[in-house]
């Protein structure tokens, strides 16, 4: 295992032992599966206390009102953990979600899971090609955050973007068609798995290189601030979420954007989906200080760590981070500890990860966890869940049928969206703009 290999090398400082025992030195809580079961009372509300800074009356209400509020920017995970361990397992006075909210969260996560499973099937049947990165296991992060957004809020993702698109509201049909390369896809078949865009739902991509979406998200947040302050649209409080992984947190663009976002107090939340693995590179082997949330305070913004396998905890943290941004208090860095059940992509044999680690996280499946919570608190019964499962199955099947029946792009589509203003193709030898040539749209013109 990697940990033992490390301790053998002379010049490396000993890193904390690998995941099975502890993921970080202080968080021994996650080591013992039994402990986890008893503390599944979702403790997200404890986190919110630390995040909120203002006592302004306009603060958006979170589902649980917090009694104590603390001032500093920095949130130490150790404090959170201390509270967790001292917290008795007695149930909280108020539930974290209503039945409707719970079922909506469940449905969204099941949609993500079923869709990704169907993608795998379709890939192995030769309906889609290239690099396809599936999101199985990480649904709590997408659902927890994106379901709190308005349509005008923006989401920027990476190549693991199918579920972000679905959570943001892009129809499953459009995403599946895009994956099949059909012209009815959300990007007319021109983007593919790694480039999901939706103008209507404000999904700003889908980026293939890691880190290159973060500046774009920063730009969208800048626009929101610009609208409010320069264009005087006083009610513009659009928030942008930037999703990226643990590997990205060692990339220059990440740090440059943390700096700019904090400097100008941009309404953005940086969401780190720390699933511990960048293809075959363990986070612990690539990062000098593996605790990513710590990098927030270094730039002057709160850094929060949250259990990314628990949708209610994520949702609680997300509420506060998004409200902070809406209030104009600036960015937040949220590190979600999560895990992907499948390999990095469908081409990844996934031989490097320890089966024991995979088994450990399989017991923390966010969908099962939510179901369990709702059962325990009598929010829903088995029949209702089954109904949702069936509904989603039908939806995904319908998406596949739609994609199958959709046409492939015609030759004339090749040159169509290269330029927003097609005069950019220039003036041809005959004096006309190339785009004025009828053969251009038919796709038979020489450029």
């Amino acid at each position: 295992m990697a940990a033992t290999a490390f301790s053998a090398t002379k010049f490396m400082q000993p890193l904390p032992p690998r995941l099975n025992s502890t993921r970080s030195a202080e968080r021994s809580l996650f080591s013992d599966p039994l402990k986890i079961k008893t503390t599944t009372s979702f403790l997200g509300s404890i986190h919110t206390n630390k995040l909120s800074l203002s006592r302004s009356p306009i603060s958006h209400s979170s589902s649980s009102s917090s009694a104590s509020r603390r001032s500093p920017n920095v949130v130490a995970v150790s404090e959170v953990v201390k509270e967790k361990t001292t917290q008795s397992t007695a149930s909280l006075s108020s539930l974290l979600i209503t039945k409707e909210e719970g079922l909506a969260l469940y449905e969204d996560m099941v949609l993500g899971r079923s869709f990704e499973d169907m993608c795998a099937q379709m890939y192995y049947r030769g309906k889609m090609f290239g690099f396809v990165h599936l999101y199985n296991g990480q649904e709590a992060v997408s659902t927890g955050f994106i379901k709190l957004l308005k349509q005008e809020d923006c989401v920027v993702s990476t190549y693991r973007d199918h579920v972000h698109a679905l959570s943001k509201g892009v129809p499953a049909r459009a995403v599946m068609s895009e994956l099949f390369g059909k012209t009815t896809g959300c990007c007319r078949g021109q983007g593919g798995s790694m480039h999901m865009f939706s103008k209507e739902h404000n999904l700003l991509g889908g980026f293939a290189f890691i880190g290159e979406g973060i500046p774009v998200a920063t730009g969208a947040a800048f626009t929101s601030k610009y609208r409010r302050e320069v264009l005087k649209e006083a009610d513009c409080d659009h928030v942008t979420l930037a999703f990226f992984g643990d590997g990205t947190c060692n990339n220059g663009q990440f740090f440059e954007c943390l700096n700019m976002a904090a400097l100008w107090k941009l309404p953005i939340v940086f969401v780190v989906e720390n699933n511990l693995w960048a293809i075959g590179m363990s986070h612990l082997r690539a990062t000098s200080d593996p605790q990513i949330w710590k990098k927030g305070p270094a730039f002057g913004m709160p850094g929060v760590h949250v259990d990314g396998m628990d949708v209610l905890k994520v949702r609680d943290v997300a509420k506060e981070a998004i409200s902070r941004a809406r209030r104009g208090e600036g960015p937040t860095l949220v590190e979600c500890e999560t895990y992907r059940f499948r390999g990095h992509s469908l081409a990844d044999p996934d031989e490097l990860r320890d089966p024991a680690e995979k088994a450990h996280y399989a017991t923390r499946d966010p969908i099962s966890a939510l179901k369990k919570y709702m059962f325990e608190n009598n929010l829903a019964n088995e029949a209702e869940f089954k109904a949702i499962d069936k509904k989603i199955d039908e939806l995904v099947e319908d998406a596949v049928d739609f994609a199958d029946e959709s046409p492939l792009p015609a030759r004339s589509q090749l040159l169509e969206n290269v330029f927003a203003d097609p005069r950019g193709f220039g003036i041809g030898p005959d004096g006309r703009y190339r785009c004025e040539d009828p053969k251009f749209t038919e796709g038979t013109a020489q450029v």
Partner: protein, 408 residues
């Protein structure tokens, strides 16, 4: 946001159905005046036919040959129309006019705000428009260019300044992947009306890294347009056109040209991004050039005229795409082509232009195309060595003489 989404659909729809929408009538006799009649449906649903009001004005102001301008003795300013200014002031004027016209236009870059820009192109703008509209960024080219792209996607019209064009090499990721490609990979949903500009080219002993010509590196990126300005007149016109364009445009300025003085019209004008500029009509040879080399060419032209040659000088201005109409008409007339550029020899603009001309106008050529470019060396610091890396007027004269000899 809503307005933009309408625009995207409308523009895409227009493009799909454009074969019966665009009408063409042949242009007038003069090479410098191109009339284009067309029917355009704009993204907001309004339509117009014939020339754009501003383009009509632009046609009226014919660019005078640089050589003749230099020879004119300075006369009293009171009698002449227009106003005199330096090239960097012309850029600023264009920028300011566009910022007044559209509140979504904003500037971002290093030292553009309080410092006024390292070449004073944005001087005074931060005081006028505020710190958010003229944004001083930290030194993070890749990220603030990406930020500009994200802002453009969400409705603003940013102008990103590279303090020196060479610094934009750090932003290559964003320029290539996002700026050029996102309109396409999003299926036309998002447009990126960004302008990336900055000074480049070989200056006065600035050293290798500050003397780069990035036009050759960027030219392959699909989805962007590149223009190079060379006079105060076209600097202002191209700046305005670039800002108004829905496409991402890279505007190449030159460090040594910022202090060129010229008289430009008082009334508003916008130039065409895709057109080349006829600098000096002639009969014997077509000399294609851009940016600073235009002045070396015109200096050589004086010598050539004295020796009895009649060169036609065209400033191609649009580096991507090439204006093959102006260039083609010239080739058909003179049958000999000389390209003078400041780019390096390998894979430069001249190389692409040579290929394009050979492909399209091979039959009209009486001699092989000659391309004079800078040497394939990192620009040395020492003055004499630096002089030898770029093309000098004497070399241009010699090349023309050799080209024309082949016909005598």
């Amino acid at each position: 946001m809503a307005a933009i989404s309408q625009g995207i659909e409308a523009t895409t729809a227009l493009f799909l159905a454009n074969s019966n929408k665009f009408l063409f009538s042949s242009c007038g006799s003069s090479l410098s005046e191109k009339k284009r009649n067309f029917f355009v449906v704009k993204s907001d649903g309004k339509s117009y036919s014939g020339l754009n009001q501003q383009q009509r004005r632009a046609q009226k102001v014919v660019t005078n040959a640089i050589a003749t301008k230099k020879d004119k003795a300075p006369s009293s300013t009171a009698s002449k129309p227009g106003h005199e200014l330096l090239l960097f002031e012309a850029l600023r004027e264009g920028l300011e006019e566009e910022m007044d016209r559209d509140p979504c236009v904003c500037v971002m870059g290093e030292d553009v705000g309080h410092y006024g820009g390292s070449y004073k192109v944005t001087k005074g703008l931060a005081e006028k428009y505020g710190d958010l509209r003229v944004l001083d960024t930290p030194i993070a080219e890749n990220s603030f260019t990406g930020m500009g792209i994200g802002a453009a996607m969400s409705g603003l019209r940013p102008i990103v300044e590279g303090m020196n064009m060479g610094f934009l090499l750090l932003a290559f990721n964003q320029i290539s992947n996002n700026c050029g490609m996102l309109h396409y990979t999003s299926g036309g949903q998002f447009k990126i009306p960004i302008v990336i500009r900055g000074p480049g080219g070989v200056g006065r002993q600035l050293g290798a890294e500050h003397s780069q010509r990035l036009e050759s590196y960027f030219q392959s990126i699909p989805g962007i347009q590149m223009v190079a300005c060379s006079t105060a007149y076209n600097a202002k016109g191209l700046m305005k056109a670039a800002i108004r364009s829905e496409n991402p445009v890279i505007l190449f300025e030159h460090v040594l040209l910022y202090n060129l003085k010229e008289r430009i019209p008082d009334e508003e004008y916008v130039l065409n991004l895709e057109e080349a500029e006829m600098v000096r009509p002639g009969e014997h040879v077509t000399i294609l050039t851009y940016s600073r080399m235009r002045y070396h060419v015109m200096q050589a032209a004086k010598t050539l005229v004295n020796k009895g040659y009649d060169p036609e000088v065209i400033d191609i201005r649009s580096l991507k795409p090439f204006d093959l109409y102006t260039i083609g008409n010239s080739v058909k007339k003179t049958h000999r082509v000389l390209i003078v550029e400041e780019c390096m020899r390998t894979g430069g603009i001249g190389a692409s232009l040579t290929a394009a001309i050979t492909e399209n106008f091979h039959d009209y050529l009486d001699a092989p195309i000659v391309c004079l470019s800078s040497q394939d060396v990192p620009t040395p610091y020492s003055g004499t060595l630096e002089e030898w890396t770029v093309v000098q007027p004497a070399q241009i004269v010699a090349a023309v003489e050799q080209l024309c000899q082949l016909l005598r």
